[in-house]
Amino acid sequence: MATEAPAAVRQQARTPSGSGRSLARATLGGIVIALPVLVLAAVILWFAPTYYVRLATVALVNLIIVVGLQTFMGNSNTAHLGHSAFVAIGAYAVAILATPLNMKKLSIPDAPFGLSHVVLDPVVAGAVALLVVGVLAAVTGRIIARLSGIAATIVSLAFLIVTHSTILNWTDLFKGNQGFFGIPRVVDIYWMLAFATLSIVAARIFKDSKYGLQLRASAQSPQAAAAFGVNAKGLRFGAWILSGLICGLAGILYAYFVGTISPRVFYFHQVMMTLAMLILGGMGTVTGAVTGVIALSVLLEFIRGIESGVTVAGIQLPQVLGLSGVALGAVIVLSMAFRPDGIAGRYELDEQIARLFSRRPPASDPSTATVEASRELL
């Protein structure tokens, strides 16, 4: 087993070496992945009623979260169940920093550190919020990077619970269970699209970079990667921070889009939903993240219609709560049993297109690939 190079390395081996060209290639690849999203959004903007535009914007928030989740989970192959904590921290940071003073007098008059008298420009507040997320990600990442797979998953979950219960109980600063309202609504679907594209490209560049490749190799075969001198802990740390930042960005955008946030939005339901999206699409690729979000957003919208009680042939069916939850869980279980690589499989969209048009046999000779890959790793 140790003599065979990990699949990620083999797959990478066919891309041309040279960091400039691979960067351009990864950027282009990211844009190709984002294209279906942009086209779908354009169709919705032109043809669909306003209600669907709003739905699409929320789906884009989920897209950014799932891309952020993929950055850590897909590359390190460690289940991450605490990403919503970063979404919550980003959202609450801008809520505290950017909400106008008169609103703050109503909602958090006794905020510590004089925060009830501070108001920042939304852009500055967003930057500060990202900084806060980054610092917290760095602190938690130090721990996560040290732990093995399962312990890391449990600690990521513990981090979610700690964050949630802090927001819920530190009412002076976070306003607790009630919604935090009055956040300036400065983000619309166009901004969301721009940042979603940016996240996709960033995640793809990371995945195809030297670091992403090394991290994926270390996830597939820790021993082989360590023998190459790959610093798995450092890479996990980096991926955790990048993942946290992308999720935090999603939280910031969400707060700026809806204007009112409450802690339960960023709890288990969001974790389950985004996780199901990533698993359905395929967690190994950024394409998978995008595919899963699109597929599951559509499915969930159908189910939500049934859940709130539909009228079939003149008969009003009763509300069926819990149906979407059953569907989300079933999606996870069935994907894992029948298609663990997800809908998208192991290749990114641009790679799939390239394979479609290439006349070369799809898999190159493993032995030469190993040599190429080892060169590239070093």
């Binding site: 600690v155 819920l168 869980g329």
Partner: protein, 299 residues
């Protein structure tokens, strides 16, 4: 002094419950490497079975206890057969996510077919008494929980050490392939592991129903998160570690409850988890876990 004894008993009872649930997780993990997030739902199914039985006319508390334990064992085996067998040889992450999915499905089935709201189950309330021993008021439930947990753990240790199947299970946790070469059926060992894990969960479920007097769809989930934490503290996969971790967690929680002022009571979970994370910084492999270096032989 009374107060101290009271809190000590509290901590022991909490710890016993966490230990029972954590042991159930560890038994399954040590043998097939499955991180069973659906363990809490075994507790929930057991509790809902009692709810249904009461609705159908069950009146004897003893029968209810028996039913809860048997139902938990049966449903654990059923989970393995339906959901976990297809991913048995898959990577740990796949099994973990499958179990997470099963947990979500079962929780929401209760929301869908019963109700998202708590349902009252009063059949076991009789156990929840107060005993007066001299100047002390002792919760009978807590004493029983402690005794039953201790007896169960002793029985588990005896089973694992004295019976052939127990021996096969201990061997399987080291090297499953060799155990199969000795002519032991893999399905049997794994089914036994799930039956034990389910029975432990069922015993915990009895005490939870008696204490709360109601059932909710997510009643097992938060408990199982704590049990996971107990496993991680003790060292994942180690049975002794799970039991010790559960006890330690009970003491940490009650200690915080005593130490924290009233207005910070809501932050108890925060402090509990922060303490545990801090512990893991110093001992990433847990208290009783073995430090494994890359390339170490699996012994």
């Amino acid at each position: 002094m009374d107060y101290f004894l009271q809190q000590l008993l509290n901590a022991l009872a909490f710890g016993a419950e966490y230990s029972l649930v954590a042991l159930g997780l560890a038994v399954v993990f040590s043998i097939m490497g499955l991180v069973n997030f659906a363990h809490g739902e075994i507790i929930a199914v057991s509790a809902y079975t009692v709810l249904f039985a009461v609705a159908l006319g069950l009146q004897s508390p003893l029968l209810a206890i028996l039913l809860a334990v048997v139902a938990a064992g049966v449903v654990a085996i059923a989970f393995e057969r339906v959901a976990f067998r297809p991913v048995r040889n898959a990577p740990v992450t796949t099994g973990l996510l499958t179990a997470f999915g099963v947990s979500i499905v079962v929780q929401n089935l209760f929301v869908l077919f019963v109700s998202p709201k708590p349902q009252a189950v009063s059949i076991l309330n009789g156990i929840n008494q107060i005993w007066f021993v001299g100047p002390l008021a002792i919760s009978a439930l807590q004493v029983m929980e402690l005794v039953v947990a201790a007896v169960t753990i002793v029985a588990l240790v005896l089973f694992l050490n004295k019976s052939t199947l127990g021996l096969a299970m201990r061997a399987a946790s080291r090297d499953f392939a060799t155990v199969r070469l000795m002519g032991v059926k893999a399905n049997r060992v794994i089914a036994a592991a799930f039956a034990i894990s389910g029975t432990l969960a069922g015993i915990a479920a009895v005490f939870i129903i008696a204490r709360r007097g109601s059932v909710t769809p997510d009643m097992g989930f938060s408990l199982v998160l704590k049990a996971f934490v107990a496993c991680v503290i003790g060292g994942f996969g180690s049975l002794a570690g799970a039991a010790a971790g559960g006890m330690l967690l009970g003491f940490i929680e009650v200690g915080l409850l005593v130490a924290l002022p009233q207005e910070y009571g809501g932050l108890r979970d925060t402090f509990t988890y922060l303490l545990i994370i801090a512990l893991l910084v110093y001992r990433p492999e847990g208290l009783l876990g073995r430090k494994v270096e890359l390339g170490d032989k699996e012994i």
